[in-house]
Amino acid sequence: MYGFEAMTFNIHGGYLEAIVRGHRSGLLTAADYNNLCQCETLDDIKMHLSATEYGPYLQNEPSPLHTTTIVEKCTLKLVDEYKHMLCQATEPLSTFLEYITYGHMIDNVVLIVTGTLHERDVQELLEKCHPLGMFDSIATLAVAQNMRELYRLVLVDTPLAPYFSECITSEDLDDMNIEIMRNTLYKAYLEDFYRFCQKLGGATAEIMSDLLAFEADRRAVNITINSIGTELTRDDRRKLYSSFGLLYPYGHEELAVCEDIDQVRGCMEKYPPYQSIFSKLSYGETQMLDKAFYEEEVKRLCLAFEQQFHYGVFFAYMRLREQEIRNLMWISECVAQNQKSRVHDSVVFIF
């Protein structure tokens, strides 16, 4: 039905698309970032933000601010917007919106499990969780001793349950296991999300497959770089790559055997979209890779707004807002720690 969304899309999706586009226009602009980067104290940041859409969320905060408060309140705004949209959404948009949060769920599960492994306080861990990835019994995760228990006790009730089928082992949890679990879950999640978007069809499928493919490829590169020098075998590494994306399948073959960062680079440069990312980096450098990927992602997310009548805008908006919150966090940290020279290191301008 590609090309015919215009006829029926607005019946259910029109209102929310308008809402999300309205939210998008509230994203901070380059001028805002310029002003924010000139701030001397966190109060200055609050003062500047009070003129933006974050105003109502920050105005009642007493004056000695902390970075965490700013980030918390900004996230709260995103969560409020998300909840409002989810309330208004009908199928299949509501499922789509829920899919967006699964990533955070995985992160939260991993956070709690790692935390309990290192014997942290559960309440403290819960506060660190991303509010979008919360589910009812999340605190119970602390009870579990191994993957099987984890699954059987808690996760079977959550939407993550199907993704778990591949990583149920009776081994005790340790850092390595958890990291593998995170990546396996993420792989399953991305593949599922990808299938779901393909099922939706139309412009949604087209745009989302592009965005998700980028996500999958980025994860593949990150997994490769992070696993260099660990005991992860090539086959294990290959298993963690999602089965779609630009790199699938031949790129994965090459990535799986990479031994150092320059080999990764050599293999990625064969793909024109990633060539531009790697060409910005000097040889042997990995620090700036994240930023380069983020920049590319933001560019692609912004492009999603160029087309109408698809669900990609919701995904793009959520991602952009998260990036914005990351930016704010970085700026606030730099300001708070008097490191203003580093302010531009990690800020990704959205517009």
């Binding site: 701030c39 003062m47 500047h48 105005q59 905060e61 009812d136 019994s137 119970t140 602390a142 009870v143």
Partner: protein
Amino acid sequence: MGTTEAAGGGCCPTMDLLRSEPMQLVQLIIPIESSRHAISYLGDLGLFQFKDLNAEKSPFQRTYATQIKRCGEMARRLRFFKEQMNKAGLSPSTRSMISNDIDLDNLEVKLGELEAELLEINANNEQLQRTYSELLEYKLVLQKAGEFFNSAQSTAAALRRELEVQHSTERSIDSPLLLEQEMTTDPSKHVKLGSISGLVPREKSMAFERILFRATRGNVFLKQAVVNDRVVDPVSGDKVEKNVFIIFYSGERAKNKILKICEAFGANRYPFTDDLGKQFQMINEVSGKLSELKTTIDAGLLHRSSLLQTIGHQYEQWNLLVKKEKSIYHTLNMLSIDVSRMCLVAEGWCPVYASNQIQNVLQRASLDSNSQLGAIFQVLHTKEPPPTYFCTNKFTSAFQEIVDAYGVAKYQEANPGVYTIITFPFLFAVMFGDWGHGICLLLASLYFIIRERKFASQKLGDIVEMTFGGRYIIMMMALFSIYTGLIYNEFFSVPFELFGKSAYGCRDPSCRDATTVGLTKVRDTYPFGVDPKWHGSRSELPFLNSLKMKMSILLGVAQMNLGIVLSYFNAKFFADKLNIWYQFVPQMIFLNSLFGYLSLLIIVKWCTGSQADLYHVMIYMFLSPTDNLGENQLFWGQRFLQILLLLSALVAVPWMLFPKPYFLKKQHEERHQGQSYSLLHSGEDPLDEEHHPSLPGHEEFEFTEVFVHQLIHTIEFVLGAVSNTASYLRLWALSLAHSELSSVFYDKVLLLAWGYNNVIILIIGIIVFTCATVGVLLVMETLSAFLHALRLHWVEFQNKFYEGSGYKFYPFSFALLSEEDE
């Protein structure tokens, strides 16, 4: 704008509302020590619009950023107090206390102290409350769990008795083996069962049970009991529905798991003993503690509410003070600081008449602040268009709003608002002519006007607010609809013989009301409005249609002419000869030679009672102007006049189109030459002009662009003359719709119900009639007639002369400040 001001003085007597107030750009140089006073007095005066001279600076780089931050902090504290007061159910008293002058610094300290005190009280209270609700929960657990035990013991006893009976008789095969085994094992081997009891939120209870089951592989016994009332959760302080639970488990590992799960679910655990005596003792203890705590909490609350009350007395005053201060500093931030840091320089617009007031205020400010230097008031000359400011009162402001909603008048442009005051309600009334409905509307608007003071002070809903804002418009509309209603002779669609007897009577007794055949004129013409005899007659519609249609055209042509005349006044005011000769004159000729002529024909026809067909006359005036008019001739020389008019209309079109762009081009060239000379004469001008690159004379002159613009204007006017006249026929259409609807409701509902001679049906009929009249005729018809009148003003009337490209005058004023919020 110096030239226009000079011209404005000469052309016509100054009218307050027709031309916006003359404005001037003023520079104020205020010594830094008296600046705060000066700004605050200017805010009281409310006649000065500051220009932002620091637009390129971000908010926190400006001079008074710290003060604004302080004000923001104080506003936050005040919001906190307000929130606390709302929680405690207190409302800030509106009566203003004797304002003991408190300045900002003291207020800041005071607010800080109060906040700290309030926070402390709150913290204490919270602590107490927490203990209190914990004890309450404990009590609940003791009670509910005690019930479990009691019932469990009684059932266990019964079971045992039963078993003993079974034992004594026969070992039955179907007695459960496990049970039997357990019964037979000796008591020393009994696994020590532990128990955990507590409360869990009800919504989580299912998941809680499930997880417990899974975690311990079913090796627990869980019993839950519903607590009927909502329980205050000690941690969050919210009231939630909860269940009391008690879990029996065996083994240390299970215990750890269960404890963790309890923690994860936010279930509060309380110790419990199965000893009955201890239970009673504990319940008593807890109850005693509870009543003790209760008195402490009450005392705390009392203290808190008295504190809040004292805050509430002065809340409004403080709030206003903080808002004022904040706005003063915002304004101060717009001023630029002199190099020597001795004085602030402000620029802004003010009405010319306010110069003296402003100077007085500045003087007072420097006196009050003991400043040695006075402030300097200096008028600047600029080419920037000044803001538009009309001095409206509560009556005219609503009408001005109607005009402003379309576009704010260009500076000193003729303001259609003046005419709107009368023409708007009048055109509305033409569509809404019924004096019964008019009286209803009048009563409604009078209600709003009489209780004006009360309504103005309180907050209204959206729709009421809108109606209240337009109360004077509605009153005028109602008055005019009573007037047109009297002309149409309709009172809820019923005609009355108010102004004497009908002019018509029956020739013979056989004739009925429903026909005009057989009616003859027996008296003088009915003195005012439509003769009541027309109502209900067979020729009512053709008669009224013809009347209203012609009337609409007359009104329309009159209003459009007014619009064109206003364009003349504008051109004259701004000394624009081109517009007079090449726009106003041909437009007048074009419109009046066609539709002015039609209006003339209508009037002649009415006066002479001729049977001429005006459609025919108009159509053949274009198709074959030279033909003989025959029986359609209304007056002598009509054919000749028609040819003349047609020719002049034809001439008027190129007249509108060609000369103006040509003359503009010529003017531009002349000015260009003049400028090149003046460069040699004075060295000052080019400098000045560099500052204002947006001068009109310096734009590139694109002849084609101007010509196309003029072409569009001409086409729009020529076509508009036809379509706008037709557009005025909506007056007729809506008036027809209104009278037909109201007569349908009257005939088909009220009269029909009356005909049944049944009280119940009559009551139902009256109710339906009232609802229909109010809902459809008074509300919906009013809205639609309002909208159509609005359209006639915005499009048909204002496009003849109104540019509406100005911007509004927003003075810095404390009065506006208090209106802004909420």
